[in-house]
Symmetry: C2
Subunit: 235 residues, 2 copies
Amino acid sequence: MLTFTEENYLKALFQLSAEKGIDQVGTTELAQHLNLKPASINDMLKKLKEKNFVETERYSKITLTDEGKRRGAEIMRRNRIWETFLYDKLDFTWDEVQEVAEQLEHVSSKKLIDKLYDLLESPEFDPHGNPIPDLNGNLKVQFRKTLAEVETGQSCKMVAVKESSNSFLQCVMNLGLVLNNKITVVRRQEFDDLLDIEINGRIHTVSQKLAQNIYVLCLNCQKESTCIKHLCNLN
Amino acid sequence: MLTFTEENYLKALFQLSAEKGIDQVGTTELAQHLNLKPASINDMLKKLKEKNFVETERYSKITLTDEGKRRGAEIMRRNRIWETFLYDKLDFTWDEVQEVAEQLEHVSSKKLIDKLYDLLESPEFDPHGNPIPDLNGNLKVQFRKTLAEVETGQSCKMVAVKESSNSFLQCVMNLGLVLNNKITVVRRQEFDDLLDIEINGRIHTVSQKLAQNIYVLCLNCQKESTCIKHLCNLN
DNA sequence: AAATAATGTTAGATTAGCCTAACATAATTA
DNA sequence: TAATTATGTTAGGCTAATCTAACATTATTT
Ligand SMILES: [Mn+2]
Ligand SMILES: [Mn+2]
Ligand SMILES: [Mn+2]
Ligand SMILES: [Mn+2]
């Protein structure tokens, strides 16, 4: 059995690796993600290495083993399923789900998570647009870019958010933006990098920082916009 | 914020007090209930006293303070709501809910528990027939007796189970007994105290021990069989 | 009332998970 | 290349929650 804390570490390692597309995570990086000090990370790494969940050598980066990946993916699956449940069935808002799902993800019961997944009708994405691994560890990956990268004049569809902080999510909600909304980049201001975007016929001005945290699919390249990626065996 | 462990202690104290109908719990008794050693109980009691959740003097019994009761009742409410959710919405069986609810009860989110309660349409009893405190801390109490106390020839209705062990619950399930079933005590065997009972037209023989763990309402005294009891303010 | 059993307490140890402060190595910049 | 900055490690300390073993008090029998 994994402890609550070990689960958080494995999920974090899995997420950071996935985001970067490379199986190497740094001590400081992980510490920042988990709001801990690098020294604490080292203590825990000793334990995770002991248990064969990570591989790491002195002064080099951390890599998850296959078993470590499996466990990390499992927690990620639980987290996203719970978020979906809270959002779909209990009227939680976008910015409320994270905190509660962070706790619920640690409840260990295969039956529980599988039944929830059924109840939600096998969702492919969580409320933030992040993919949920299915029962075989397969993930529906979208080839998305950030709103900041969309060319002026182009239209796109919001499919996910990057940041998960409340301040960011509330900001997006205030714009009236929800997943699958169409966004058109109308204009870019040279001087301060602000973007004028059109949502539902209205023009809003947003910062570069905000645009970098919104994932979109361009409307003209949707044929090859998703693929199935096998992460690891969840059984 | 209470820790996971403190919550378990307060719930246990609250339950034991309630079952006994007296606000005094012993160290050893509590240790047994929580599967711990008496020495560990003492350590934790120091902390709970510090925080004003219990009152206790050297070599005497433990009493919950009002605030301690409130917290205990809150965890009990969460536990029973989760059990009901698992049973009603996710097809868990009688004997499966306990273990998972024991974990879920520690997720702290007022909104979560209130929304679940709505989703389940304000249930008054959990799958084991135990009452769920409502939002004001009111409980629907039934004046029940055990099946062992029912006179020969009398009929009654099963409203709850006492024990929560899997072996007991499975035993009851094997008899085809579910809550609200009518049971008639047909015969008592002098020699070994076994009872013959009739359920759905079939006769079964059951032990005294089993009968002592099944709560029933007698069919002829149903007018005054329940009352509302105010436990404590849950807000 | 004395002996015995039951119950409660204390001291001292252990483990998990975190910290700070000092130090070591690696990467970047001048 | 030398200095500086960033990153990673270690030693030593802290708290929460548990344990065992020894001891103290209270309750129950004889
Ligand atoms: Mn978590
Ligand atoms: Mn999410
Ligand atoms: Mn619990
Ligand atoms: Mn129950």
